[in-house]
Structures are given as C-alpha cells and as structure tokens.
C-alpha cells in the first residue's frame, strides 16, 4: 500500500534541520532562536520516526517521545530565561548578553 522510500523522509528531515540551523545562525532574537531549536528537535524526531517506520519497530516512536519530553523541559527553562533576559537587558537581542560577567 505504502511505497514511500525512506530516503524521501530523511530528505525532509534534513531540509527541516537545515532550516532550523540556518535560523539559529542568522537570527539574533532570543525567541526566534528558541523556535528554531524546536524546529531542529522536531526534524531529529522525524528522522527517528522514519527509521522506525522503515523496520516496523516501535523504537523510533519511543525515541520521539523522549525527544518530546526533552523539548518540553528545554522550552520551559528557556522561556523562563528569556523572561529574565528581558527584565535584565530590556531587549531580546542575544548580542546584548555576549559577555557574561556573573
């Protein structure tokens, strides 16, 4: 019934990951950086699910659940840090905190 080659799923995951990486590299807004980190984690999970679907094993989906919990924990701590950042520097430019003076 299904004849989608695994390479096409992996190409999709790779393209999404490349977009996320390019977004992290070219944006200086902290919220945008967090969003592109989410895009990259999602692409990694997509690669896991594609591989698990290739061999008909549930392991890829279990790995996606782990990535999901990691992304949830990461985004909660990251958004708390964004709030603290904005209170301290009154901007969202990541270059404002290029020097950590403790």
């Amino acid at each position: 019934m299904m004849s989608i080659p695994m390479e096409h799923g992996l190409i999709l995951a790779g393209v999404l990951f490349a977009f996320g990486l390019a977004g992290v590299l070219m944006r200086r807004n902290v919220i945008f950086i967090l969003m592109f980190i989410e895009v990259m984690l999602n692409a990694a999970g997509l690669a896991f699910v594609v591989a698990g679907s290739k061999w008909n094993q549930a392991d890829g989906q279990v790995m996606f659940i782990f990535i999901l919990t990691m992304a949830a924990a990461e985004v909660s701590v990251g958004l708390a840090l964004v709030l603290k950042f904005y209170h301290k520097f009154r901007t969202l430019d990541a270059d404002a905190a290029s020097r950590m003076r403790g």
Binding site: M1, G14, I31, N42, A58, K88
Partner: protein, 173 residues
Amino acid sequence: METLFYISSFVAVIATFLVMVKTNVVHALLYLVVSLLAVALVFFVLGAPFIAALEIIIYAGAIMVLFVFVVMMLNLGSADTQRESEWLTAETWAGPVILAAVLLGEVIFILVHKPGAAFQAEMLGPRQVGISLLGPYLLGAELASILLLAGLAGAYHIGRHSGEKGGGGRKRS
C-alpha cells in the same frame, strides 16, 4: 498515500522557510504551527498515529501556547521587527545559500539514485509503543520523568528569581 506525504512535506518545508524569513514573532509562530501540523500529517502517513497525536497536542498545542504567552507578556514593539529585517538583506546570505544548495543537491542526488527499500504498510499504534516504552525502555522513561521534574523545578526557580531580581535591579539602576 504517497501524494499525501509529498504534499504535506512540501507544506512543512514552505512553512518552515516562511518562519525563517518572517520578522514578526507572531507571524513566525503561526507558520511554525502550520509546519508542525504538516509534520504531524507526515507522521500519520508513515504509520505512527500515536506520535502524530502527540505532535499536535504537545508541540503545536502546549509548547506553541507557551511561546504565545511569552510574546504577549513581553509586548514587543516594531523596533525589533526593523532590526531583524536589516539582517535579512540579500547580499549577506546569497553566497552561502548557493554553496549550501549545491551541497544539498549532492546529498539528494546520492540518496535518490541509490535503490532504497519501500515502506511497509503496517501501522504501529499506541499499544506497541506503550509496550516498548514501559518494557525495554523503562529506564529511559524514568530518566525522562526526572528530566521533566528538573525542568519544572528549574523553570520555577528561574522565574521566581527573575521577579525578585527585577525589582531590585530597577531600584539599583
């Protein structure tokens, strides 16, 4: 099923690209939600309906709502949009994009011209995923729960510290 896969993957790629070029945070969040929905459809076509539901509920639901809450709390102005649009002029990124596109074309050529196996029709539902998650991956599930607890405690600590420090910092400056 194949056309569903290709259409949704095109939507995912286009939406993610628009996230990358939008300068308004809320517009970019909307495109990111569209991208996550398209990826959820890809999961469904690939035979993982449980993961598709989790993608919609947790990624497109909970995490994006957190982003929207933070954007609303910060109440960003238009000066930020102006500054971000200055970073996106064509002279700065045209050369690296052309080089990276050549590399991407090479990778796609290698992957397409190698004979690959097709997908099987079998669906892996929540039953197999649950048996595998709480069977051989039980230690991983416990570690994930500890990670969630650490994230909860860390977010609470950083957020509370931010409130007290913010008042003190404004008094000092």
